[in-house]
């Protein structure tokens, strides 16, 4: 027996085996996750972000103050640019950041008073139904418009957030329950109040959108605080800047937007009282820009929420305070706030010029008005809150494509726990959910690679085993 030769062969086998292990460690998790706009996939660079919140009330009004980091403020949105004799829309929602950065920052807050019990346990996940807007398998505009209720009556064009019990089958977006039952649900409080602040629509006029989530996402009753300035028939703006009210200005200039020269104190938005009917005879030049959204004084329940003070971005952070009457008198649209009551709220932030589902969301947070809670609203007297309390820190995360039907299906190992009412926080952290959200967007491809990895690893072990057993030899030739 040539012992040195045997040792050399053994060393080579061990070296190759260890090299294969090292290679596996270095390159694991690569080759699958990549942006794919055709499948509505864009993965943000950061999967989590912080949000700070404070709340205060005086018995009449309730205030929420939000603070979050953003590299730059995104305050432009939906612009109509004149190009070669045509008006072209810039700023459509796309997977990931809008390429020209024409997409506004936002903060949103869902509110429930206990009438939607699943919300306390699972937060916004319950609103993500089957074939949602901007999911890879999203329902088409044609399908939604053809729906007898969502399309024909509610005038929806896409499947938006909705509550599970508004469907007979949570795994079928179209299975909406009859309208009389929807109305009864709404009367019983089975809806989520949605506070929706937008940096362009309509922070410049000190207003916020007020919406509701029930069988779909709707604006509250009344006139919204912004509207569309696009004349689809004539393919041009309906309104333009009134030069007599805007210092001789007819339009913005594209270069000012592209270079982000216009700040909070400049005119970068179109306000109803500064607008006049569009003049097609004006000598429009390439690069002239008119905002596609018209900001206006809303009314009714739709305009209940206001910006308190000035919502501004400074030194890398947005600081936004919203205020609303505790009792708006609109119980079919709003959740009323009462002293000594507890509520469930959940937040979301859009930043970096992203829209639609490319946001960061929170898990549910318990809000208490003189009640023990995660976030305690401080009672005050006087002109406004002093904000002397500490911030409540919330970790937001990118949720990916995880729907309520999937979470309740056999695909989710925790589906039984959901049936038992175990809250999402008990099992999952925000970072964990962010990673899961990303993996779910590539689930089929990852399953394939994982299976092959399992088999390849076993083959490697088997190969090494064969090498060892052969080199050891059998008992007859051992000597």
């Amino acid at each position: 027996m040539n012992a040195p030769s045997l040792t050399r062969s053994l060393a080579a086998a061990v070296g190759l085996f260890l090299a294969a292990l090292l290679l596996s460690w270095m390159f694991h998790g690569t080759g699958v996750v990549r942006n794919d706009p055709k499948r509505n996939i864009h993965i943000p660079e950061e999967l989590t972000m912080p949000l700070q919140v404070k709340a205060a009330f005086d018995g009449e009004k309730i205030f929420f103050r939000y603070r979050w980091p953003a590299r730059e403020p995104r305050i432009y949105h939906d612009m109509l640019r004149y190009e070669g004799g045509k008006w072209v829309r810039i700023g459509r929602s796309v997977p990931g950041p809008q390429p020209e950065h024409i997409y506004e920052d936002r903060v949103t807050m869902l509110v429930d008073d206990g009438a939607v019990p699943e919300f306390e346990r699972y937060g916004g996940y319950i609103t993500i139904g089957d074939r949602m807007r901007f999911f890879t398998d999203e329902a088409s505009k044609k399908e939604v418009e053809a729906h007898p209720y969502l399309g024909k009556t509610a005038k929806q064009e896409e499947v938006r957030k909705h509550l599970p019990e508004t469907r007979t089958d949570i795994a079928d977006w179209s299975s909406v329950i009859p309208q009389d039952k929807l109305a009864a649900q709404r009367k019983a409080g089975y809806f989520l109040d949605l506070w929706h602040w937008r940096a362009h629509r309509s922070n410049p006029i000190g207003a916020s959108d007020d919406e509701v989530i029930a069988e779909a996402r709707f604006g509250d009753k009344g006139r919204g605080v912004f509207t569309n300035n696009w004349d689809a028939k004539l393919a041009r703006p309906q309104l333009m800047f009134d030069p007599e009210k805007t210092g001789g200005r007819y339009a913005l200039r594209w270069e000012d937007l592209a270079e982000r020269k216009l700040g909070f104190d400049d005119l970068y938005y179109l306000r109803e009282d500064q607008a006049k009917p569009f003049d097609p005879g004006h000598a429009w030049k390439d690069g002239d820009v008119i905002p596609q959204r018209l900001l206006r004084a809303g009314d009714g329940s739709h305009a209940d929420i206001k910006v308190h003070g000035n919502a501004r971005w400074k030194d890398g952070y947005w600081d936004v305070t919203l205020v609303r009457a505790m009792d708006t008198g609109n119980p079919l649209d709003d959740k009323m706030f009462m002293d000594r009551r507890a509520y469930t709220i959940a937040f979301a932030v859009h930043r970096d010029a992203t829209g639609s589902r490319w946001h960061y969301v929170s898990l549910p947070v318990r809000l208490g008005l003189n009640r023990d809670a995660d976030l305690k609203a401080v009672q005050f007297a006087g002109d406004g809150p002093k904000w002397e309390q500490a911030w409540h820190e919330v970790k937001l995360f990118y949720p990916g494509q995880v729907s309520w039907p999937m979470l309740n299906s056999r695909k989710h190992a925790g589906a039984e726990k959901i049936k038992q009412g175990v809250p999402v926080k008990f099992r999952h952290s925000e970072a964990q959910l962010a990673h899961y959200g990303v993996e779910m967007e590539f689930n089929d491809a990852i399953i394939r690679q994982w299976r092959l990895t399992l088999v390849a690893g076993l083959l490697l072990i088997a190969g090494f085993g064969v090498a060892l057993l052969v080199l050891l030899g059998n008992k007859r030739n051992a000597s």
């Binding site: 030769s5 190759l16 008990f426 990895t453 076993l458 088997a462 052969v470």
Partner: protein, 184 residues
């Protein structure tokens, strides 16, 4: 089935951990007491492989197959459990077929290395099992710092898979060629 899986995994963990301690001692010492203890290694490893296989099968029945395939943590748990079982089974076969020769020359260090890898794998498997059972530990933080986020599936790109398969074939070939050269 979850409760039975948790009950069953105690056996391979205990048996393999004991086996590791014996291998460690035997790799470092030829003392008679250590040699005597090493006599129990083959049955320990055999029982470990059998109870490990039973725990593996019970684990497969905890969730529906769709959930096993779609959960990153479950995927990782299954992958690591499969590899742990394979490693320790390999050790059993090597010790069983090789007899006392596995402690001669460089083989003893290979035995120790394999056992250390096996213990590492079973620790990771248990860590992820802890997450799944609702008892997360800080071990995952160590792994995270070494470059693997355990909330993401451990998978390899196609080209690395090809390298692994080729490596497996080359390893087997190395054994055969090395043996022939040694006996010439």
């Amino acid at each position: 089935m979850s409760a039975y899986h948790v009950m069953l995994v105690h056996f391979p963990i205990a048996l393999w951990t004991t086996a590791f301690l014996i291998i460690l001692a035997r790799a470092l010492s030829d003392a008679p007491a250590v040699r005597a203890a090493e006599g129990a290694l083959t049955p320990l490893l055999a029982l470990g492989a059998l109870s490990g296989a039973a725990a593996f099968v019970a684990g497969l029945l905890v969730w529906p197959p769709e959930a096993v395939a779609s959960s990153p943590l479950v995927r990782n748990h299954l992958l690591l459990a499969g590899w742990s079982l394979a490693y320790w089974t390999l050790l059993w076969l090597v010790r069983w077929r090789g007899g006392e020769r596995v402690w001669q020359g460089a083989f003893r260090w290979v035995m120790l290395g394999l056992a250390a890898l096996g213990v590492g794998l079973q620790t990771l498997t248990g860590t992820i099992g802890g997450y799944l059972a609702g008892n997360p530990s800080a071990v995952s933080e160590i792994v995270r710092r070494l470059g693997w986020e355990v909330f993401t599936t451990f998978y390899l790109p196609d080209w690395v898979l090809v390298v692994l398969v080729v490596s497996a074939l080359v390893l087997a070939g190395l054994g055969v060629v090395g043996r022939r050269q040694a006996v010439q």
